[in-house]
Amino acid sequence: MTEHKIETSRERQNRHKAMEAASVLEKIKHNFKEPPRAMSYFYDLYERVNCKHESLHVDKAKVGTMCIQVPSEIIYALDAVPLRLCNGFYTDDEIGSDLLPSKSCPLVKATVGQFASNNFSDKPDVIISPTTCDQKAKSGAIIEGMGFSVYDMEFPRTKESHESREYWRRSVRKFTKDLSIDLNKKLTKKSLKESIKKVGYAQHLYHKLNILRKNTASPILGKDMFLVTNAFFFDKIDNWIDAMENLVQECEQRVETQVNAASKMSPRIVYTGSPPIFPNLKIPLLIEQSDAIIVADETCSSNRMFNDMISVDEWFVNDMIDSIADRYLKGCTCPIFTKNSDRKRRIIDLVRDYKADGVIYQAFAGCQVYEMEQRSVLEAMQKAQIPILYLESDYSPSQSGQLTTRIEAFVESLKNRKRRG
């Protein structure tokens, strides 16, 4: 006799999410040329966490972060684990759209949705919400209303002035003090120095891998890089570092044997805009399925996390914290700032450095800051004579058709340009 069991909502949500994750993983693993063998760790990781809902951090305090501006070095130094809560699931997006206005950013909706469903494999003990973009800032209160403890971290909206630098430094100090009281851990010079070095090492590995993509025959596709960097959101840092070391080694070998992850005439793309977070890797996958290759990106779920490194002059605790604060503010090219000349220069520099053929600028429908910056970035690209495609998308799977057409057309035009020389 078969037993009928009715799914709980939680189980159904998990199943939907697992389906989403599995289908994307399938595409990633099999729709392209042979990925590096070291990537299997990452595929496995995603499966474990998203399909099997495995908890990775049972023994440590978990600090959820709503934005990359929260200094992870400090969290590691306080013997906790930073978990980036930015969510990429359409399932959660649907849940969240009941709680947020319809025109909101899908990422924030998905994040709120996850909180609403309270379905975490690694549930955060405290949530840090920096006042970066409007929607994240407001969603903090909504999440708090659901019974979670949310800590507001004050982030300035300009970064040129001295005042903003000092403001952010004070913010980070206050945050550190409050967090160490909350977690009941003391911040020592040794632990902070070690965590700075460890995160720095992780960044250094990313750079080593990223540099390899400058070659005409890039050994790794963008979709894999996004996966690797996304994994940093939630993976154990030591495991991530080990896997990354293997990946770097393998890619270096690939470069020596001139293995090209794409084909010779594949247009090289720089991807910029709203962060693609697993499993919402729709657009990167579309791009690479159209026989282009993403060689560099300027997004906060990938490159921006690793690009800027902390430099400390004198290893005193107070100076280290100030240096950490500086790194998170000064190098940031997020469009939440009033002026965006740094971002424009960065994109142009990436195009030149990685010898890209074009830029694809993707903004979520509802992400005001990215949408508003689109015009000035487009102008800057036109002035620098770099082809650029602007896309708007959200998490829903229905748009694929229109997006595919536009992307394929753009890629074709780039290919023609390349052929003409």
């Binding site: 004070r170 100090r173 206050k174 550190t176 003090k177 003391k186 911040l187 020592t188 010079k189 040794k190 005193f316 605790v317 107070n318 914290i321």
Partner: protein, 789 residues
Amino acid sequence: MVNFIKRDKDDIYAKPLLGVLFKNQKFLTILKIAISMLFLYALYFGFTHTGKENTFTTAVFWGIFWSLFMVLTLPTFGRIFCGICPHGFMGKYITKYGLKKTMPKWLQNRYIGVFLLVFGWWGVYYMFPNLFRTPLGTAILFAVMTLIAFIVYFLYKDMSYCKYICPIGTLTRAYSKLSFTWLGTYKSACNDCRTFECATACPYNLKPFTFDNRNSMTDCTLCMDCSSACEAVSFKYKNPSFSLFSKFQVLKAEVWAFILILASISITMSFHHGIGRSNAAGDMIWSKTAEFLKHYIDFGAIDPIGLFAFVYALIFTILAAVIGMFIAAKILKKDFNTVFYDLGYSYAPLFILGSIAHSFEMFFLKGYEHIAEGFAYGFGFTLDVAPLANRGDGWLHVFDLLKWVAIIWALIILYKRVKLLDVSRLRKIAAFPFAASLIIFFLAVNMYVGYIFKTYGKASNGHASHGGVERVNKKSEKQDLPTFIKPEFSDTIYFSEINPTAEKKSYGGGHSHGGARGRVATKEVWPVFEDAEGKKNCLGALEAKLYLLDANLNTKEATVSKDAGCKSVTFEMPDNGYYNLFYVNKDVKDNTLYITTAKYEFLRFNHSNYAIYDKKKMDAHTIKEAPFDILRVREDDETFFHALYSGKKLRVKVVLEEEAIEGADVTLSTKTLWSKTLKTDKNGVATFTLIEDYFPNWNEFNKRYKNEFLLSASYVKDVSGVDNERQYQKINYSATYPSYYYPNERGYKSYAYGLSAAVLIMIISGFVIYMYRTRREKPFKEVRFDEEN
């Protein structure tokens, strides 16, 4: 036309005081009227008072306008001299009612003005130096120029007189490029302008709205008529000579103005009034040419030396410029004209800054007095002021700095203009020194003048002194010659650095090396003795022998001076080291042979870095011609910088026949009448401690106060002999050695205070900083972390 514009920070029109001075039409008109009236009055005065007592006309024209005011304002504020010029002011109105014809092409030649100045004024000036400087001459000259100006203004339009005929038209246009002001317009207002009021209002028919684009103010004379026509005209501060750092349309006459003015004024003056006033004047080529041609041509009233100095200056200057630029053009592989007229603008600062220096110097020496008294005379009252400075005042030479500033500025302008050329870097570097040929020539002439004066000295009223020792004896020539007392044998004779007859002690007591730099240092000393009343007397005749032991330990005889009066001995000191002068005399009296030695020791050191202190040479030596001598024993750590200080020990060694003698009496007596007598020990050495007896008030303390003392030694030996058929039973030896010592450093240097000051500051500042850092009050509490490992 705009009625209002937001002015930039560097716009002079927006400044509180200067803005009024330069923009307010009422003020400017009143000023120009006043200047014109002054001009006319001075002119009239010159005709009516033609005698020398008319200092007014000369003060107005030569004291103020030409050239003090002109050279002061040109490289600074620009062409405001032309802005307030009476000719221009009155001429503007004359043209308004005149014929307004276009000037014919042959008159539209800027060289007319330049040559009028160079040849018509300066050439004439060098030939007839006094022609234009008299009141009548001045008046005639300016009246003629005014008449010409008025005629030209009446006939022709657009103020063509200023551009082409006026002798200083091109000159002021050229040199005003160095100024730090700039008349221009605000582009934002000009973009939409269709009426061009600024150009309509301009009496010179210029277009102010093009000045910025063209990077040239063309013939603008800063009359400020345009700025009252439209508010969009700006008068801004800019970096000095900034327009020369970028391209603009060159004007050949300007470059030639630079060169010819430099030649006819700076170079000719250096030749004629500079070198010409030294003792080498007669050897110069222009003097020689003048001398030579005097045999063939009768120059009449013309000063031939001045004329030829002028001619040669012109030739040399033009050659220097042209040859240098020619080579530069070849290196740069560009057309000579392009290079010459493009880079020639770097010559701008050379004349004008030098002339500022000269004008300032003249102003302080004579100009102020001249102007003040002249104006008083012109307006009917008397005034007597003293000049602000006197010839020979040291600080006047600070203006010489301007010549160096000019050279550096010229090189900078040249560098910037060479940078603008489209040629490879190597060529530019190679061509630079050649393009700078005139600048180098100017520098060379200046250094040459300095060299001439250093070597040959200044001519003093026609009698050139031959290179020798300068005597400060003018005073003593006027005094009565002292009657000379002959010294007794028991009297102590010693050498004095001070001339005993000189009344003022200001010349003496110092380093009278004599001679100027470059010549060998010499020293002059006088043998003196004190009579029964204690007064110092010099010797009218010298019978003793004089020997000089020089720094290289060679002995030779020294000679006494030949003048009547106090006898002195002069010796040269070519090398670094100790020079010893010995006076040895012997005579028999009362059966005793008196052998008297007076010694003078001087350490000559020229502070050279390469001098080596050879201990053997620098040791105390005596000569065999001096039988009895006092030697100052050298300490181990002595250097060229040796000096004696109070409180320190002084060891003296007495030698007889070049061997140490025991039991001789040595006395040290100071100027303050303290003395001490010791006997020498078996090594012939006696050790004195120099006393401290200089206790002035603190404000009068002089750490280089020379406390003079005299060492005298004597020894009697019982031995009989014959000298010059005179018998003696014993020999009485005596020797003297004068010197001086300075106050000890301990008297004015305090280590305790020094150390305590430093430590106190460290403690206080450390404490203050600590308190500040820990106690910084803020509205919020500063979060701090413990530095725990």
